[in-house]
Subunit: 653 residues, 2 copies
């Protein structure tokens, strides 16, 4: 029987988790011995393994199961690509510079911080307590303080109006605001210069001449789109299909301060699913129709509310809350993936973007938001980019990025078509022959039908633009009804894009997995599922004495053959301490080799969360732990196969 | 019985291979619809899978089997790191600019091309045929032509001397050569400017102020070194251990023109193995001692020869050809890895760097060179970087990057130590007290022994630098013999670095795998081993008719459960054509589902190289193909379990 575990005996303690992650080198600030650089992190051994395991599962869950076409494209991108995609013009924030120190501030943040501080000062001066800053505000920005000065009512109203529509101001308008309201750098009280666009892409230059500007991609998506024709051909010319890519992207964030949640270099996993714009159904939609999801749609948000609803994906699509089956399919698949790797289902929701917050290329977007200590955080975006990207690249390069589809039923149309006796036309009208032809060829079907009628009567008269009248007879022109058959349909596919920020998912997963033992708050545990845990089994010999070596090697090699990643900890410390250290690393199982192992070939098996210990023959324990790691049995079932070990206290003390 | 296959019926045809790789989208020039950028490539679905499989095997072969610590570090690196590592100063080539067009040329290449052309012109003028360009030269550079002008003998001698020591000239010296010999841009006949260093790192800027220059890493190694202390702690403070990383690196090559063999952005896999400089033995060396390798050592090369020798790794280390066991261990493991993924053992050798060609950080280096259509190509470097990197970063940052080891036997030393009666010293000498102390403290052991002797006699006299004589008595100073015990040894580990260029390995593997069917040169085959083949099994239903759907799904799902990656090709073309197409993709096995499958639940199994076909029940065939892909049986063994299928001709015609 498995023991009960109380994982909520101690409230979540972020400081304790961060200390653990740093101490066990899940990740650490990059270039730390050089003082570090904001927004850049290195993953150490457990972080790298965790990330590699998440990626492996992602590849299996999305690429293999849905037969996607994997790509590995280039990060360093020539400027024209991002000029076309709109990133050079629009992937930017407005910045202002302190006129004396040269410090750079994000323009909208400056306006917000200064006006909010003045309003707070006004509250104070009027004897009203300023509203306490929210949890979010406390963490994300420096406290800007303004003197307790009372403001006239009309100024208060004006400030409030500015704040409410802050996202709508252009750079020059913000500059105007700064001058009008004397908004200064709160750190120095210096004036700031004119707002300038600061592009968030890292710029470089390709080749030795300096004449070929390039950018580091801020997303992997353009690499998919530029290869669309090759991908389509690889897929035998058919849609729907999807390309997928896992790789680094870069964003030169102004002032990143949120750990792995906002970084300048990150690993993304992106899918671009190409569909017929007239048919966004999905072949496997029925397999996910009954998946229940928590939704926060745009109408609710636009009404200023945040009430979520729970319904099946099928219901959401049927009711038109999620626009089409393909979007719905991916929303469900994203949720299945996140739960599989260990995200808490009660802290996951799908939020629809409001019209004014969508990226420049998107027509609809649902974010998988996961709740963590900073609030709800976008971890996966699922956007309908429509035909935007393929259209702009096609227009710029002159390359057709389209699907050509044989129509099952050709479209048959009939048209009136002019037929000329060119010889007679030239002979009769000489220089006017061309004019006449042009006039007739540009007529619409109604006019041609009228002309046909008149010609059937013997003649018709055309009026030239300079007012002359030219008589035309059936010898020169006949109008005939002809049949046309169109057997190919050509269209630019729409793109549905699920886009995963792996670092955000990884960090949030670590928060969801962290707890402390009821009896000792210092003993932190990461309850990572075996699927993603960096190490699956810890092998713990009682000591580093040579007599354990053959057994350690045997167990290690048998686990390797079973495809189970294990590590040996033969360090010179108690077994209990070694297990505690590996609880911090999220290692789900441990096996202990002691003198009984040498004598009887038995081994104990320990489960991380419950600290339960069972005992069995070495081969039996390996068989059980293999099934546990592969997820074919759970701990309850394992307990039925292996008797309890009665030396538990001695070892975990 | 398996059929014999003649893979050398047609000579290797690079054009045909390149057409295949392009057509089947193994890889393609990046940004192709924008005209492409030299040295940047995108991997399509088969190339991505092949790369992912090579990486998965690399991870298993090196990281898992040798318990290395995996890292995932940052690409965007602040400039000070590469200033310290020496890359800012030395990771560069000398460039010259055409004074009129601004075209950039590599300075040493300009000198070489122009002087060689003049020498050829001289030969021609003297009526001697110029030596035909070698294979390599034809491919790698544009033909530079000079008029057939006879040169004085002393000029010929001077040119030849310059060419022989071209690698020794500094930039200013090359500038001098250009002026003295009027060396001009051969494309335009314009003069060139002063040589300037062109650094091969891509430069950028981190953050919004433009004040933090950064570079894209040209290797992953520095990311390991900067994290050394954390890694050491993770490994419980012990060496040897290794860190490993797979990731992108960037080099802004001047004019890359060799396909995947010289690119500006590439995936590397690097190991940094940290060892005690006084003990470079390797725990598992005996496991590889008998591995036979082909060697080309530096002495042979320095004697102007290229004769290789074959010997075991054990012999090479014993004879001191390979400097130590750890280098030898990695040479053997590198070879095992390369052969496992399908590199032809007859086209692999290990070449030692000559003293003058080593990178600035290396003290010894062996390259795994693989032969391909361009000649012998460095695909893996295995360098002993000694303590270079850890030392320079430690010196720069003031952080100790050292190993502290408890000595088993403390080192005990005895020393003469001065002991002062400070009160008496101050009272007697006042202002000179400090001077006297300094003089005595800076004495070596021999001087202190002499002093001790004199003091035993009653007194000693010290001469100050300004010529005064000061008398010292035993009341003021005694010299005593004391015992010192050192129980910790501190050292900077040395680093052995195997560094893999995955793109070069991948391309060379494709060359080694390519051949054409004896009966039809148009039918190219890639004989990739199942281990790395993008798709392991092709499922081919006779047609896309619905009656095959349930079987296709069943086979597909059973293979997936067995962990075998398969694809279905139900395109509207003959089975033979579908197989031919998948021979080009390197798919080792194919199963055909036809009407017999529907009636009798049988399936045929086809082997790619022999085109043999066998038949069995669906479950039997799946069992056999699973073993084939996992490498537990070979095709001969499979043939014993499954009878031959007699419909071969009909299907492969």
């Amino acid at each position: 029987m498995a023991s009960a575990v109380n994982k909520t005996a101690h409230p979540f303690d972020k400081t304790r988790l961060e200390a653990l992650l740093n101490r066990r080198f899940f990740y650490a600030p990059a270039f730390e011995i050089y003082g570090g650089v904001a927004g850049l992190y290195d993953y150490g051994p457990p972080g790298s393994s965790l990330q590699a395991n998440i990626i492996a599962e992602w590849r299996k869950h999305f690429i293999v199961e849905d037969h996607m076409l994997e790509l590995d494209t280039t990060i360093m991108t020539p400027a024209p690509v991002f000029e076309t995609s709109g990133h050079v013009a629009r992937f930017a924030d407005w910045m202002v510079k302190d006129t004396k120190t040269g410090d750079v501030l994000r323009a909208d943040h400056l306006v917000k911080n200064v006006l909010e501080a003045r309003l707070a000062g006004n509250q104070e001066a009027r004897g009203l307590a300023a509203a306490p800053p929210t949890e979010d505000k406390k963490k994300k920005k420096k406290n800007v303080k303004a003197a307790a000065v009372q403001l006239p009512d009309e100024v208060v109203a004006e400030y409030e109006k500015i704040l409410a529509q802050l996202d709508n101001y252009s750079g020059p308008e913000i500059g105007e605001l700064c001058r009008k309201h004397d908004l200064r750098n709160p750190d120095t009280n210096n004036e700031v210069g004119e707002p300038q666009l600061f592009n968030l892409m890292f710029a470089s230059s390709i080749g030795p001449t300096g004449q070929h500007p390039g950018y580091l991609r801020p997303e992997t998506a353009q690499g998919h789109f530029l290869n669309f024709s090759r991908l389509l051909e690889f897929n035998n010319g058919r849609v729907p299909f999807a390309s997928a890519q896992i790789g680094r992207s870069f964003r030169n964030e102004i002032s990143p301060r949120a750990g792995l949640l906002r970084v300048r270099e990150f690993t993304m996993a992106e899918i671009e699913h190409y569909v017929d714009p007239e048919d966004k159904s999905h072949e496997h939609f029925n397999e996910v129709r009954d998946v229940k999801i928590v939704l926060l749609d745009r109408h609710v948000q636009e009404a200023g509310q945040s009430t979520t609803v729970t319904m099946t994906v099928g219901e959401a699509v049927d009711k038109g809350i999620i626009a089409n089956q393909t979007l719905g399919y991916f929303v469900a698949r994203i949720q299945q993936f996140l739960l599989k790797i260990g995200i808490n289902p009660e802290r996951l929701r799908f939020r629809q973007h409001m019209a004014n917050e969508m990226a420049h290329y998107a027509t609809d977007c649902w974010d998988a938001e996961i709740h963590n200590s900073t609030g709800w955080t976008e971890c996966v975006g699922c956007a309908d980019r429509a035909a935007y990207d393929l259209s702009v690249h096609s227009a710029k390069t002159g390359q057709a990025l389209v699907v050509r589809q044989a129509l099952k039923e050709p479209i048959v149309t009939e048209k009136e078509v002019p037929e000329w006796n060119k010889k007679a036309l030239g002979k009769t009208y000489k220089a006017d022959a061309g004019v006449i032809q042009k006039m007739v060829e540009s007529m619409d079907q109604a006019e041609l039908t009228r002309l046909k009628g008149e010609l059937a009567q013997g003649k018709t008269v055309l009026k030239t633009s300079d007012g002359r009248e030219l008589e035309i007879t059936p010898e020169i022109l006949t109008i005939e009804r002809k049949t046309f058959k169109q057997s190919i349909r050509e269209f630019t596919p729409n793109v549905i894009e699920p886009s995963f920020g792996l670092g955000r998912i990884l960090y949030t997963l670590l928060e969801h997995s962290f707890w402390s033992r009821e009896q000792d708050v210092e003993r932190g545990v990461l309850s990572l599922p075996p699927l993603v845990a960096p190490t699956k089994v810890l092998i713990v010999p009682l000591s580093a004495r040579e007599e354990f070596d053959p057994l350690v090697k045997e167990v290690s090699s048998k686990l390797r053959k079973a495809g189970i990643f294990s590590r040996v900890d033969d360090s010179n410390t108690s077994i209990g301490k070694r297990y505690a250290r590996n609880d911090e690393l999220g290692t789900p199982y441990g096996v202990t080799l002691d003198f009984a192992s040498v004598q009887n070939r038995t081994m104990t098996l320990r489960e991380r969360d419950t600290m339960d210990q069972r005992i069995g023959s070495i081969d039996e324990v390996i068989a059980v732990v293999t099934e546990l790691v592969n997820g074919t049995i759970d701990w309850e079932a394992a307990c039925e196969r292996l008797p309890a070990y009665d030396g538990v206290q001695a070892i975990d003390a």
